[in-house]
Symmetry: C2
Subunit: 587 residues, 2 copies
């Protein structure tokens, strides 16, 4: 400790929102260099190396072969797959001294595809799985939580190449098992959930989420085994209704009711229905936004959903990718004067209307799965202070399509009928994709099949957040005193703390450290001239699984062995402590 390049901090860093970030910085494991960009100090790097090694072993064990691509990449391959554009501002672009466009790789599908195309040409060469553990770059709009969402980070990415769909399914399944082994070895509590494929494209994909309240991802589970990222939940269409007895739509004055709540209250007071009170679910809320497409153009979209539901921003973003969502501002309202702010509806009352015309002009109108033919609604009448009642879907208005982006709520039914959903949050630790033939087609990766015919290769893409895993494990194991590493990831097996001014204590501690070191146990020896209080606090912040306190009790022939996670303290005789600790460490 007197020589180790580490300093613990008494204060939380100003930008630390989550415990793992706070403790990794305070314990001197990492330091911030720029937003979302960190340096690894000696203790942090040891943990990172251990995580890398676990990932490497499991990837090797499943038969994947390790390679390493550069981070600095040419533009052309990403142009061929359109990702140079689709990645938008998340891609770090630069020009070299000759003005050649380059990028810092956010993920390497294109490069692996081209490499396999370069080397392989026959179905006999396949199947093939390649992986790398490598530094990646994404210019996140909101880097946060330390290593959890960074702009430069370490990932294990792998890619499978197969001649047919069955082969892809097998490679996918083998990755799935390897990932379970990796996250089991990391000691993470995780769930495997259905996921959206996003900018990656492809058909099937699943995420491995470490369960954590501070996670950025929300997922749902049902008693019957359904599990999905909320972004990937596909609510089924509601059953159509018979609206043949519905009265004609009628516009009513609804002064001072700009919100769903005030509209429901006014409706119950002025237009009470006989059978039951109106609720927010009877109203049709129409939310406007602009889609900014990768080519820079902007188009307006309205989404109609029951008034008791909100649009879930992340579900919306995931649904419209690679387009980005922007607010519908005053300038947009000026450009679309038929839209009466706060009183927009899909009907033709007051000359307004949503939905595209035969020429594809107008405001695209997309509706929630609950808005189906025959459903009856109270909604805006396209004039300030007016709403329309008994507006029937299919009779009085139509939709340009379904957009399922309403927030998912605790208790909502699982889409597969497996019971009510519960919600929780998680950290995305891994993501496995069946990419299919998108990249192979764009870049011309074909092989000869047994009949001598050229067939396009089908691919999978698989990622593990390696630097993120360091933070996720820290998050899962830290407490209010500091870090508390599991044995297989701790920078050192034990922390030997020599206390007091008695030379005998430091002498015994040093000799014990030497013995343990000889037995292959890695030891952090606190040999500093500092108070016992400082040393104990540091041992708790740094978080080795066990510490051995050598001090006052030495005269009685015992030292104290502490378990960091449980806080348990055991007195152990000086003559047996080395063996005691060796057994603890080796399990």
């Amino acid at each position: 400790m007197s020589e180790l390049f580490v300093r613990t901090l008494r204060e939380d860093p100003a930008d630390a929102e989550v415990p793992s970030h706070r403790w990794l910085v305070r314990a001197g494991y990492i330091r911030r260099v720029a937003p979302g960009i960190y340096s690894w100090l000696p203790l942090g790097l040891k943990v990172l190396h251990k995580v890398e090694q676990i990932v490497r072993e499991e990837m090797d064990a499943m038969g994947a072969q390790e390679v390493r691509f550069p981070a600095l990449l040419p533009r052309e391959p990403y142009e061929a797959t359109d990702r140079w554009t689709e990645y938008g501002p998340n891609l770090l672009r630069l020009q070299d001294r000759k003005g050649v466009d380059m990028l810092l790789g956010p993920t390497h599908e294109e490069m692996f595809t081209l490499m396999v195309k370069d080397l392989y040409s026959s179905y006999k060469d396949l199947p093939l799985s390649l992986y790398q553990i490598q530094t990646k770059y994404r210019d996140e709009a909101r880097p946060r939580a330390g290593l959890l969402r960074g702009r430069e980070f370490v990932m294990k990415d792998s890619y499978s190449f197969d001649v047919d769909d069955a082969g892809l399914q097998e490679a996918y399944d083998r990755h799935r098992v390897a990932y379970q082994r990796i996250f089991d070895r990391l000691g993470l509590e995780y769930v495997i959930v259905s996921a959206t494929s996003g900018a990656m494209g492809g058909s099937a994909s699943e995420e491995f989420l470490a369960v954590a309240d501070i996670g950025e991802d929300t997922f749902v589970r049902s008693p019957g085994g359904y599990a999905a990222n909320v972004e990937a939940v596909k609510r089924p269409l509601a059953p159509e209704q018979d609206a043949s007895d519905a009265p004609a739509a009628h516009v009513e004055d609804t002064p001072d009711s700009p919100t769903i709540e005030t509209l429901v209250a006014l409706s119950n007071e002025r237009f009470a229905r006989a059978d039951r009170p109106w609720t927010a679910a009877d109203t049709l809320k129409n939310v406007l936004f602009m889609l900014k497409h990768p080519d820079g153009t902007r188009t307006p979209v309205a989404i109609g959903l029951p008034g008791d539901r909100e649009v879930d921003g992340k579900r919306l973003e995931a649904a419209v990718e690679p387009a980005e969502v922007e607010g519908f501002g005053d300038a947009d309202f000026e450009a679309w004067p038929q839209l009466a702010k706060g009183y927009i509806g899909p009907g033709s009352q007051n000359g307004g209307s949503l939905g595209l015309d035969a020429d594809g002009k107008g405001v695209r109108y997309l509706t929630d799965p609950a808005v189906v033919p025959g459903t009856r609604w109270i909604t805006g009448a396209n004039a300030p202070g007016q709403h329309v009642y008994d507006l029937v879907c299919g009779r009085d208005f139509t939709s340009d399509g379904v957009l399922d982006v309403a927030e998912i709520r605790e208790g909502d039914p699982a889409p597969d009928g497996s019971g009510p959903l519960t919600l929780a949050r998680g950290i995305e630790m891994g993501h496995i994709f069946q990419l299919g033939r998108k990249y192979a087609e764009a870049l011309g990766l074909k092989v000869l099949d047994p009949n001598g015919k050229l067939v396009t290769v089908t691919m999978g893409s698989y990622g593990v957040g390696v630097s993120r895993a360091v933070a996720a494990v820290a998050e899962a194991t830290c407490d209010d005193k500091g870090l508390a590493w599991p044995r297989n990831l701790a920078p050192y097996d034990v922390h030997v703390v020599a206390t007091g001014k008695d030379a005998a204590a430091l002498e015994f501690a040093t000799e014990l450290a030497r013995q343990l070191d000889e037995a292959g146990i890695s030891v952090l020896l606190d040999d500093r001239k500092a108070s016992p209080g400082v040393k104990f606090a540091d041992a708790e912040i740094l978080g080795m699984p066990n510490s051995i306190v050598v001090g006052r009790t030495l005269a009685d022939g015992v030292v104290e062995v502490r378990d960091r996670a449980s806080g348990e303290k055991t007195e152990v005789g000086v003559d047996v402590v080395a063996n005691h600790v060796i057994h603890l460490v080796r399990g």
Copy 2:
């Protein structure tokens, strides 16, 4: 081999100028992604990892602590030391989504300085040596020779921090020893030579050069032990001469003598001297060039040197760093009309002259160490077809300073009087610098000394080209058949080649591979359906230290063990071959 991601190529890659580049590509160890940017395939990555591990072990053994900094760095620290500008076009710069200037780190002096400043504050914290093995970026004007000069490459860089000069010297010496151990373990023939510090700044520095004809660096050695990169050779000033008996300078018509050779011939014919013939060494050649400074401004410089010497481009570049050298073009001659192209001289004949005036205006005139007061010269008379004779330095012209950039020649005396120099070429594998206080001063790294006074820390900076070492070892060991790795760096210990259509051969080879694998020997098994010729050629290209050929001779109870480096073939009995190979590998 039937599953390994590798393909050997029959043809040399078009851009391969040197053997290591040719073979690393042809053997499927690396692949080019862009100029100076390579991917590592499985075999290449195994070698890289072994080199990394040797470097890591030796750095750990000398007490340096491993950390890892990001490659994507903020501009500000490099602005503070002026390197944002001084690096010129070699620095890869980019802007993030918010327009913030960033760079890809070419070397990390600034970042380490700031990190130590962040953690440490007292002389008691020092000495400290930190290192990282990390990916670096330099936008080389002429990337070449595969991994030998790339734009993205792996380096081990370390930095020492000390409170005084004696501490720096000790850290420097310890790095020097560690580097010797590293390059010894890599099996490289290397020399340690004095070097220039270049853009890094600092006082003393030495380079570790792997001796290789294809090396980019030229170094000199003397029998008495002098060794230096030619860039670092400082020739002493020639002794001044007595020119009191010299005639006045006289301009002569010298038609048709635009070159030194023609001028010497004409002088001997028309103005023959009594004592000896004129030689090129009697002429003063004045070479013009433009210096482009990091701020973009350009200034003209003339260098005067004996006509029997050429300017050495690399010595010139090293001497004027961080400025860059550009040619003196037609537009420049137009801007400086007193310079008569081909007949330039430092005298005032015909109204011309070189050298700065009292106001610092004019063309800066720098001279070779051979041009000292009292030396007498034939040189241009500043008019076409005219030269001036008996122009005496100190009497007829003066110099603005010494610039020692003439080429060093075999047989030149060593500057320290240790005998005649011999020249050779080498690959720069390592470079150690005593930086001193330049970075600590620029970034404010101070610690309290024992008297409670703030003192500026003194630093060293030390680099090993890790990916370059893979190429340097390949270069030193390959032959006309392919790669030939030393045991400690080979991707696999042995290559087992099963030949023939006899199932027994593949069976025995597979069982042998299994036995060796169990004994901890790593085996590459060629189990392909290919001809023996193809397999033997591949084994030679891939370059494992030993191969074991299992085939025809199996019926006689023997297999053939081949030594890749020597080409030696030994028949070994099938019952003892496993042990035989285990002994070979373990040494």
